[in-house]
């Protein structure tokens, strides 16, 4: 019995070990491990596509004593996105880190981060989630500080501490649940959980801890400096994947495990925080002077969009409408993930070429790099939510649901957020239009520009036009 779920975690892990042990070959080994890991993830994806969901009991011990890995449509979709982004980031990194030394530090940590991410998405055990969260947080902070500049190290030290605070808070929630219910398995817990002070407190504690890690407004303060000062491939992974991973857990808890505990008031509060994140994040992105800071603030806003779904999902009874809304949420998360990865990778190229990333002074540089400017434009399209990107469809369904459930006020938030997003995206793009200089060719460095462009393109064209297959992937997983 070959267990694709365990492989999805252990392949990048082994890659990380090899890259640690043999630093001279770190890049080659890392790329090789990335390829194998992508195959493992594809295997999981095929399994979920055919079976609906996969479960494997590790160590031969069934839950609650053992730990299980579970892949349903949601985790499979996010795994696939992580694999795509990771592949893009990996190829990009070979062109980005010119010194072997930097690459030798990047690869082991990066592969461990990927392993943690896959582990988190597949985890079905509360304490195991804690361990993956810590692995994720440590590798992310270490990677973020890789440039070694004072800004990067201090921002990521703050990120590390905030992450630890979040983990501790989360762990207290886990301890309460184990005290009351004697199990750590998500599925078993969902079966026995009852509304009451313990469940409510555990949910609040865990959500607060995860919200810190997901940079949910008003706990987002650490994100912009940490993401803006990291090396570009790391920023891409942090913004696209690490933050989303924490949000994924919030989603799991609120929609699956704690569904009977969540009240309309609590869900509306999440929506409200999301609304504030959208407005605040977009506004700060608009006012940012640096491109990477803009992208980082836009991440704060995008997490807000995902939160808007929670009150609407909570209000809907199980059925096809709720399923549609749920898939729309996933679609939105995937689109943002790919788009934000593309945007950060492109921003890194602009920064490297110009020596800075001040938006007001980007004129000639951006113009001279058509492929990179295109990447920013495509990613921007997805961030605004314009067609044909996946987030357009997500937004359409979100707004439909807001109208149908009578919670029309969210629409106003979405509209304002959309216009603000358009303003900040086009503020950057307008720098790319001059008659001179005329770019020599479309692509200047294929190894870095093409992965960025493909990621952004995937967020716009693939997720937009092939969104229907996501319904099939998740529809089976959700057992609609």
């Amino acid at each position: 019995m070959v267990d694709s779920l365990a492989l999805a975690v252990s392949v990048p892990l082994v890659g990380g070990l090899l890259a640690t042990a043999i630093p001279k070959r770190a890049q080659a080994l890392g790329l090789l491990a990335s390829l194998v890991a992508v195959i493992a993830v594809a295997w999981v994806l095929v399994g979920v596509w055919q079976e609906g969901s996969l479960r494997s009991e590790l160590g031969g011990w069934a839950a609650p004593l053992g730990i299980a890995l579970v892949a349903d449509g949601l985790s499979a979709a996010l795994l696939a996105m992580a694999a795509l982004v990771a592949l893009g980031v990996g190829v990009y990194a070979t062109g980005y880190f010119r010194r072997g030394d930097a690459a030798a530090h990047f690869w082991p940590l990066w592969l461990l981060l990927w392993a943690a991410l896959n582990g988190l998405l597949l985890a079905a055990d509360l304490f195991n989630i804690y361990v993956t969260l810590e692995l994720l947080g440590l590798t992310a902070a270490a990677l973020g500080a890789l440039t070694g500049s004072v800004e990067a190290v201090s921002a990521n030290l703050r990120y590390l501490l905030v992450g630890l605070l979040g983990s501790m808070t989360y762990l207290l929630g886990v301890a309460l649940l184990y005290t009351a219910h004697g199990t750590l398995d998500l599925g078993l817990l969902a079966a026995v959980i009852q509304p009451g002070p313990v469940a409510a407190s555990a949910l609040v504690l865990m959500t607060a801890g995860l919200a810190l890690k997901a940079a949910l407004f008003p706990l987002h303060f650490w994100l912009p400096p940490a993401h803006a000062n990291a090396p570009a491939p790391v920023s891409a992974a942090l913004s696209a994947l690490v933050v989303k991973a924490a949000f994924y857990l919030i989603l799991r808890l609120w929609l699956d495990v704690f569904a009977p505990v969540v009240t309309p008031w609590a869900a509306s509060l999440m929506g409200l925080l999301g609304a504030m994140a959208i407005i605040w994040g977009s506004w700060r992105a608009l006012r940012s002077e640096r491109l990477k800071l803009l992208a980082a603030y836009s991440t704060v806003a995008q997490i807000g969009y995902l939160c808007l779904f929670i009150p609407l999902l909570q209000a809907l009874p199980p059925g096809s409408e709720r399923d549609d809304l749920f898939v729309a949420l996933v679609l939105m998360a995937l689109t943002h993930g790919l788009a934000k990865a593309g945007l950060f990778l492109a921003a890194g190229l602009v920064q490297r070429d110009a020596g800075h990333d001040r938006i007001d002074d980007l004129g000639g540089t951006a113009q001279n790099m058509p492929a990179t400017t295109f990447t920013i434009a495509l990613a921007g399209t997805a961030l605004i939510g314009l067609p044909p990107s996946g987030s357009f469809i997500g937004k359409w369904i979100l707004m439909t649901s807001a109208i149908e459930s009578g919670q029309w006020w969210w629409i106003l938030v979405i509209l304002v957020g959309t216009l603000l997003a358009a303003a900040y995206v086009f503020r950057v793009l307008s720098r790319a239009f001059n008659l001179e200089p005329t770019p020599r060719r479309f692509v200047t460095q294929a190894r870095t520009e093409v992965p960025a462009l493909l990621l952004a393109l995937a967020s716009v064209a693939v997720l937009g036009l092939a969104a229907d297959s996501l319904w099939r992937l998740l529809g089976m997983g959700e057992g609609a």
């Binding site: 004593l65 304490f127 804690y130 361990v131 810590e134 947080g137 440590l138 902070a141 270490a142 500080a145 070694g148 004072v150 190290v153 201090s154 990521n156 030290l157 590390l160 501490l161 630890l164 605070l165 501790m168 762990l171 207290l172 301890a175 184990y178 005290t179």
Partner: protein, 92 residues
């Protein structure tokens, strides 16, 4: 009764650590605070594992063991980052 007494102590430790984390700015103090917060949670887990006459529940023990190692790893990384900052500031 022991469960409640020790578990309550765990919660108190958690709260004390949280308070100190929020109130102090120096890195080392924040780390002490975080470690005491963590110890509080671990303490709660150890407390509920104790079952009087019966042998204690080994699962929380194992969780805490894992937690201790994770906490010390994070502390070590944070201290190294702090030292890097000190060196940079000292070099200016």
């Amino acid at each position: 009764m022991a469960q409640l007494l020790y578990g309550g102590a765990g919660v108190v430790l958690f709260a004390l650590g949280l308070w100190a984390f929020l109130v102090y700015t120096p890195l080392l103090r924040k780390l002490i605070a975080l470690n005491i917060m963590g110890s509080g949670v671990f303490h709660l887990l150890i407390a509920i594992a104790e079952r009087g006459e019966l042998p204690p529940d080994p699962v929380p023990h194992a969780l805490v063991l894992t937690g201790i190692v994770v906490a010390v790893s994070a502390t070590a990384l944070a201290l190294a980052m702090g030292r890097r900052l000190e060196e940079d500031e000292g070099g200016r």
